[in-house]
Protein backbone atom coordinates (compact mmCIF):
# COMPACT_ATOMS: atom_id res chain seq x y z
CA UNK A 1 0.00 0.00 0.00
CA UNK A 2 1.27 3.43 -0.93
CA UNK A 3 1.76 5.77 2.03
CA UNK A 4 0.82 9.42 1.86
CA UNK A 5 2.15 11.87 4.42
CA UNK A 6 -0.56 14.03 5.95
CA UNK A 7 0.83 17.23 7.48
CA UNK A 8 -1.36 16.64 10.56
CA UNK A 9 -1.39 12.88 11.03
CA UNK A 10 1.85 11.69 9.43
CA UNK A 11 2.24 8.81 6.99
CA UNK A 12 -0.97 6.86 6.42
CA UNK A 13 -2.26 4.35 3.89
CA UNK A 14 -3.34 6.15 0.73
CA UNK A 15 -6.77 4.50 1.07
CA UNK A 16 -7.49 6.89 3.99
CA UNK A 17 -7.38 9.84 1.59
CA UNK A 18 -9.49 11.19 -1.21
CA UNK A 19 -7.68 12.54 -4.24
CA UNK A 20 -8.99 16.02 -5.00
CA UNK A 21 -6.75 16.82 -7.96
CA UNK A 22 -4.27 19.29 -9.32
CA UNK A 23 -4.02 22.52 -7.34
CA UNK A 24 -5.29 25.18 -9.73
CA UNK A 25 -6.18 28.81 -9.30
CA UNK A 26 -9.90 29.39 -9.71
CA UNK A 27 -11.00 32.23 -11.97
CA UNK A 28 -13.33 34.79 -10.40
CA UNK A 29 -16.85 33.43 -11.03
CA UNK A 30 -18.16 37.00 -11.25
CA UNK A 31 -16.00 37.96 -14.22
CA UNK A 32 -15.00 34.66 -15.87
CA UNK A 33 -16.46 33.90 -19.30
CA UNK A 34 -18.09 30.48 -19.79
CA UNK A 35 -15.05 29.48 -21.88
CA UNK A 36 -12.63 30.44 -19.08
CA UNK A 37 -14.75 28.62 -16.53
CA UNK A 38 -14.87 25.45 -18.65
CA UNK A 39 -11.09 25.61 -19.13
CA UNK A 40 -10.77 25.78 -15.36
CA UNK A 41 -13.16 22.84 -14.91
CA UNK A 42 -11.96 20.48 -17.62
CA UNK A 43 -8.33 21.15 -18.52
CA UNK A 44 -5.39 19.78 -16.56
CA UNK A 45 -1.63 20.07 -16.76
CA UNK A 46 -1.39 16.30 -16.19
CA UNK A 47 2.42 16.24 -16.21
CA UNK A 48 4.63 13.16 -15.90
CA UNK A 49 6.66 14.41 -12.96
CA UNK A 50 6.25 16.71 -9.97
CA UNK A 51 2.87 18.28 -9.48
CA UNK A 52 1.21 20.29 -6.73
CA UNK A 53 -2.09 18.74 -5.77
CA UNK A 54 -4.79 18.69 -3.13
CA UNK A 55 -5.81 15.70 -1.03
CA UNK A 56 -8.43 15.24 1.68
CA UNK A 57 -7.73 13.10 4.73
CA UNK A 58 -11.23 11.69 5.16
CA UNK A 59 -10.32 8.90 7.58
CA UNK A 60 -8.05 11.08 9.72
CA UNK A 61 -7.94 14.78 10.47
CA UNK A 62 -10.61 15.54 7.83
CA UNK A 63 -8.51 18.37 6.47
CA UNK A 64 -7.62 19.37 2.92
CA UNK A 65 -3.92 19.82 2.34
CA UNK A 66 -1.45 20.46 -0.44
CA UNK A 67 1.39 18.14 -1.32
CA UNK A 68 3.82 17.75 -4.19
CA UNK A 69 3.86 14.32 -5.76
CA UNK A 70 5.84 12.86 -8.62
CA UNK A 71 3.28 11.20 -10.86
CA UNK A 72 5.88 8.84 -12.34
CA UNK A 73 7.07 7.14 -9.14
CA UNK A 74 4.62 8.58 -6.57
CA UNK A 75 7.46 10.11 -4.51
CA UNK A 76 6.23 12.98 -2.33
CA UNK A 77 7.50 16.14 -0.72
CA UNK A 78 5.72 18.89 1.23
CA UNK A 79 4.07 21.52 -0.95
CA UNK A 80 6.13 24.63 -1.52
CA UNK A 81 9.52 22.90 -1.73
CA UNK A 82 11.12 23.45 -5.12
CA UNK A 83 13.86 21.29 -6.48
Amino acid sequence: MMLLTCPNCGARNVSEFRYVGEAKSRPDPETATPEQWRRYLYFHRNPAGWIKETWYHGSGCRRYFGIERNTVDNAQRPAGVTS
Binding site: N8, R12, N13, E16, S59, G60, C61, R62, R63
Partner: protein, 222 residues
Amino acid sequence: MSDIAAAPIARTALSFPGPVRTTDGWETTARHAAGGLRLADLGPLVKLTVRGPADGSVRAALGTSFGHTVRPRGGPLAGALVVGSGPGEWLVLGAPGTGGELLAGVRSIIADSGEFASVVDVTHGRALVRLTGADTPLLLSKVCAVDLADRVVPDGAAFRSSVARVVTDVVRDDVDGTRSYLLHCERSSGQYLADSLVDAGIEYGIEVGAPTEHDDATGHPR
Protein backbone atom coordinates in the same frame (compact mmCIF):
# COMPACT_ATOMS: atom_id res chain seq x y z
CA MET B 1 -34.60 9.68 39.28
CA SER B 2 -34.97 6.12 40.44
CA ASP B 3 -37.65 5.28 37.83
CA ILE B 4 -35.42 6.67 35.06
CA ALA B 5 -32.54 4.55 36.24
CA ALA B 6 -34.70 1.44 36.29
CA ALA B 7 -36.44 1.73 32.92
CA PRO B 8 -34.34 2.01 29.78
CA ILE B 9 -34.82 5.24 27.87
CA ALA B 10 -31.99 4.58 25.42
CA ARG B 11 -30.00 1.74 23.95
CA THR B 12 -26.35 1.98 23.05
CA ALA B 13 -25.21 1.32 19.51
CA LEU B 14 -24.17 -2.22 20.39
CA SER B 15 -26.13 -5.31 21.27
CA PHE B 16 -24.72 -8.71 22.12
CA PRO B 17 -26.43 -12.04 22.72
CA GLY B 18 -27.26 -12.72 26.35
CA PRO B 19 -28.75 -10.82 29.26
CA VAL B 20 -29.11 -7.07 29.32
CA ARG B 21 -29.17 -4.64 32.22
CA THR B 22 -30.23 -1.05 32.67
CA THR B 23 -27.91 1.49 34.21
CA ASP B 24 -28.39 5.24 34.24
CA GLY B 25 -31.30 4.81 31.81
CA TRP B 26 -29.20 2.90 29.28
CA GLU B 27 -29.75 -0.68 28.26
CA THR B 28 -26.43 -2.49 27.78
CA THR B 29 -25.18 -6.03 27.88
CA ALA B 30 -25.02 -7.61 31.32
CA ARG B 31 -22.41 -10.18 30.34
CA HIS B 32 -19.43 -10.46 32.61
CA ALA B 33 -15.95 -10.53 31.14
CA ALA B 34 -13.10 -11.60 33.35
CA GLY B 35 -10.48 -12.72 30.84
CA GLY B 36 -7.24 -11.12 29.79
CA LEU B 37 -8.74 -9.45 26.71
CA ARG B 38 -12.04 -7.62 27.16
CA LEU B 39 -14.33 -5.46 25.07
CA ALA B 40 -16.68 -3.24 27.05
CA ASP B 41 -19.54 -1.12 25.70
CA LEU B 42 -19.08 2.42 27.03
CA GLY B 43 -22.00 3.77 25.00
CA PRO B 44 -23.70 5.46 27.99
CA LEU B 45 -20.76 7.81 28.58
CA VAL B 46 -21.36 11.45 27.80
CA LYS B 47 -19.68 12.49 24.53
CA LEU B 48 -19.25 16.08 23.46
CA THR B 49 -17.48 17.33 20.37
CA VAL B 50 -15.82 20.72 20.55
CA ARG B 51 -14.53 22.69 17.59
CA GLY B 52 -12.55 25.87 17.63
CA PRO B 53 -9.21 27.40 16.69
CA ALA B 54 -6.47 24.78 16.92
CA ASP B 55 -4.23 27.06 18.96
CA GLY B 56 -6.16 29.60 21.00
CA SER B 57 -7.71 30.14 24.40
CA VAL B 58 -10.22 27.30 23.98
CA ARG B 59 -7.29 24.96 23.45
CA ALA B 60 -5.53 26.44 26.48
CA ALA B 61 -8.62 26.01 28.65
CA LEU B 62 -9.27 22.45 27.48
CA GLY B 63 -5.64 21.74 28.30
CA THR B 64 -4.74 19.49 25.39
CA SER B 65 -4.33 19.47 21.63
CA PHE B 66 -4.55 17.11 18.66
CA GLY B 67 -3.03 13.74 19.43
CA HIS B 68 -3.05 14.06 23.22
CA THR B 69 -5.45 13.63 26.13
CA VAL B 70 -5.89 15.14 29.57
CA ARG B 71 -8.03 14.50 32.68
CA PRO B 72 -8.65 17.89 34.27
CA ARG B 73 -8.35 17.67 38.07
CA GLY B 74 -10.36 20.81 38.70
CA GLY B 75 -12.36 23.40 36.84
CA PRO B 76 -15.57 22.93 34.89
CA LEU B 77 -14.42 19.66 33.26
CA ALA B 78 -13.09 17.95 36.36
CA GLY B 79 -13.46 14.20 36.09
CA ALA B 80 -13.91 14.13 32.30
CA LEU B 81 -11.44 12.85 29.70
CA VAL B 82 -10.57 15.49 27.11
CA VAL B 83 -9.22 14.05 23.85
CA GLY B 84 -7.54 16.11 21.13
CA SER B 85 -9.26 14.23 18.29
CA GLY B 86 -8.26 16.48 15.42
CA PRO B 87 -6.68 19.82 14.63
CA GLY B 88 -9.07 22.23 16.36
CA GLU B 89 -11.33 19.37 17.36
CA TRP B 90 -11.84 17.81 20.78
CA LEU B 91 -13.86 14.98 22.23
CA VAL B 92 -14.97 15.28 25.87
CA LEU B 93 -15.95 12.01 27.58
CA GLY B 94 -17.70 12.02 30.94
CA ALA B 95 -19.58 9.76 33.32
CA PRO B 96 -23.20 8.95 32.38
CA GLY B 97 -25.62 11.63 33.48
CA THR B 98 -23.03 14.43 33.63
CA GLY B 99 -23.92 15.78 30.19
CA GLY B 100 -25.59 18.96 31.43
CA GLU B 101 -22.69 19.97 33.68
CA LEU B 102 -20.03 19.22 31.05
CA LEU B 103 -21.95 21.04 28.33
CA ALA B 104 -22.28 24.07 30.59
CA GLY B 105 -18.59 23.80 31.43
CA VAL B 106 -17.47 23.81 27.82
CA ARG B 107 -19.89 26.63 27.00
CA SER B 108 -18.38 28.76 29.73
CA ILE B 109 -14.91 28.04 28.34
CA ILE B 110 -16.03 29.13 24.88
CA ALA B 111 -17.77 32.23 26.23
CA ASP B 112 -14.68 33.24 28.19
CA SER B 113 -12.43 32.75 25.16
CA GLY B 114 -14.38 35.03 22.86
CA GLU B 115 -13.34 32.71 20.01
CA PHE B 116 -15.54 31.23 17.31
CA ALA B 117 -16.07 27.75 18.70
CA SER B 118 -18.88 25.26 19.19
CA VAL B 119 -19.85 22.32 21.36
CA VAL B 120 -22.37 19.59 20.49
CA ASP B 121 -23.63 16.74 22.66
CA VAL B 122 -23.27 13.61 20.50
CA THR B 123 -23.80 11.08 23.30
CA HIS B 124 -26.63 9.29 21.48
CA GLY B 125 -25.08 9.57 18.05
CA ARG B 126 -21.82 7.72 18.62
CA ALA B 127 -20.53 4.35 19.69
CA LEU B 128 -17.75 3.97 22.26
CA VAL B 129 -15.98 0.80 23.36
CA ARG B 130 -13.00 0.05 25.54
CA LEU B 131 -10.63 -2.70 24.54
CA THR B 132 -8.38 -3.86 27.39
CA GLY B 133 -5.64 -6.47 27.62
CA ALA B 134 -2.00 -7.10 26.84
CA ASP B 135 -2.91 -8.48 23.41
CA THR B 136 -4.82 -5.41 22.22
CA PRO B 137 -1.99 -4.17 19.96
CA LEU B 138 -1.94 -7.58 18.23
CA LEU B 139 -5.69 -7.50 17.76
CA LEU B 140 -5.74 -3.92 16.50
CA SER B 141 -2.86 -4.54 14.10
CA LYS B 142 -5.21 -6.81 12.15
CA VAL B 143 -7.71 -4.04 11.51
CA CYS B 144 -5.71 -0.82 11.80
CA ALA B 145 -2.54 0.16 9.92
CA VAL B 146 -1.17 2.62 12.50
CA ASP B 147 1.94 1.52 14.40
CA LEU B 148 0.85 1.06 18.03
CA ALA B 149 4.35 0.85 19.53
CA ASP B 150 4.88 2.91 22.71
CA ARG B 151 7.22 5.19 20.78
CA VAL B 152 4.44 6.14 18.35
CA VAL B 153 1.27 5.85 20.44
CA PRO B 154 2.19 6.13 24.15
CA ASP B 155 -0.34 6.05 26.96
CA GLY B 156 -2.46 9.19 26.67
CA ALA B 157 -2.04 9.53 22.91
CA ALA B 158 -4.94 9.75 20.44
CA PHE B 159 -5.33 9.51 16.70
CA ARG B 160 -8.04 9.05 14.10
CA SER B 161 -7.64 6.44 11.41
CA SER B 162 -9.36 3.61 9.62
CA VAL B 163 -10.15 0.69 11.95
CA ALA B 164 -11.76 -2.22 10.09
CA ARG B 165 -12.39 0.42 7.39
CA VAL B 166 -14.44 2.53 9.80
CA VAL B 167 -13.24 6.04 10.61
CA THR B 168 -12.47 5.70 14.31
CA ASP B 169 -10.98 7.82 17.08
CA VAL B 170 -8.47 5.66 18.92
CA VAL B 171 -7.32 6.74 22.39
CA ARG B 172 -4.60 4.89 24.28
CA ASP B 173 -5.80 4.98 27.88
CA ASP B 174 -4.10 2.26 29.93
CA VAL B 175 -5.95 0.93 32.99
CA ASP B 176 -3.81 0.12 36.03
CA GLY B 177 -0.80 -0.52 33.83
CA THR B 178 -2.69 -2.79 31.40
CA ARG B 179 -2.91 -1.75 27.73
CA SER B 180 -6.27 -0.29 26.95
CA TYR B 181 -7.79 1.65 24.08
CA LEU B 182 -10.99 3.62 23.69
CA LEU B 183 -12.53 3.40 20.23
CA HIS B 184 -15.13 5.94 19.16
CA CYS B 185 -17.06 6.06 15.90
CA GLU B 186 -20.38 6.99 14.33
CA ARG B 187 -23.27 5.14 15.94
CA SER B 188 -24.41 3.42 12.73
CA SER B 189 -20.94 1.85 12.25
CA GLY B 190 -20.63 0.87 15.92
CA GLN B 191 -22.04 -2.64 15.81
CA TYR B 192 -19.96 -3.45 12.75
CA LEU B 193 -16.81 -2.10 14.40
CA ALA B 194 -17.46 -4.06 17.61
CA ASP B 195 -18.19 -7.25 15.65
CA SER B 196 -15.00 -6.78 13.64
CA LEU B 197 -12.98 -6.32 16.83
CA VAL B 198 -14.54 -9.43 18.40
CA ASP B 199 -13.87 -11.36 15.19
CA ALA B 200 -10.24 -10.22 15.14
CA GLY B 201 -9.89 -11.04 18.84
CA ILE B 202 -11.19 -14.62 18.83
CA GLU B 203 -7.70 -16.07 18.55
CA TYR B 204 -6.64 -14.07 21.63
CA GLY B 205 -9.69 -15.20 23.64
CA ILE B 206 -11.61 -11.94 23.59
CA GLU B 207 -14.65 -11.61 25.87
CA VAL B 208 -17.46 -9.09 25.72
CA GLY B 209 -18.84 -7.77 28.97
CA ALA B 210 -20.41 -4.90 30.81
CA PRO B 211 -18.00 -2.18 31.88
CA THR B 212 -16.47 -2.50 35.30
CA GLU B 213 -15.48 0.52 37.35
CA HIS B 214 -12.01 0.30 35.82
CA ASP B 215 -13.43 0.64 32.35
CA ASP B 216 -15.00 4.02 32.96
CA ALA B 217 -13.15 6.46 30.75
CA THR B 218 -13.21 9.09 33.43
CA GLY B 219 -11.16 6.92 35.75
CA HIS B 220 -13.56 7.42 38.61
CA PRO B 221 -15.29 4.49 40.28
CA ARG B 222 -18.97 4.46 39.47
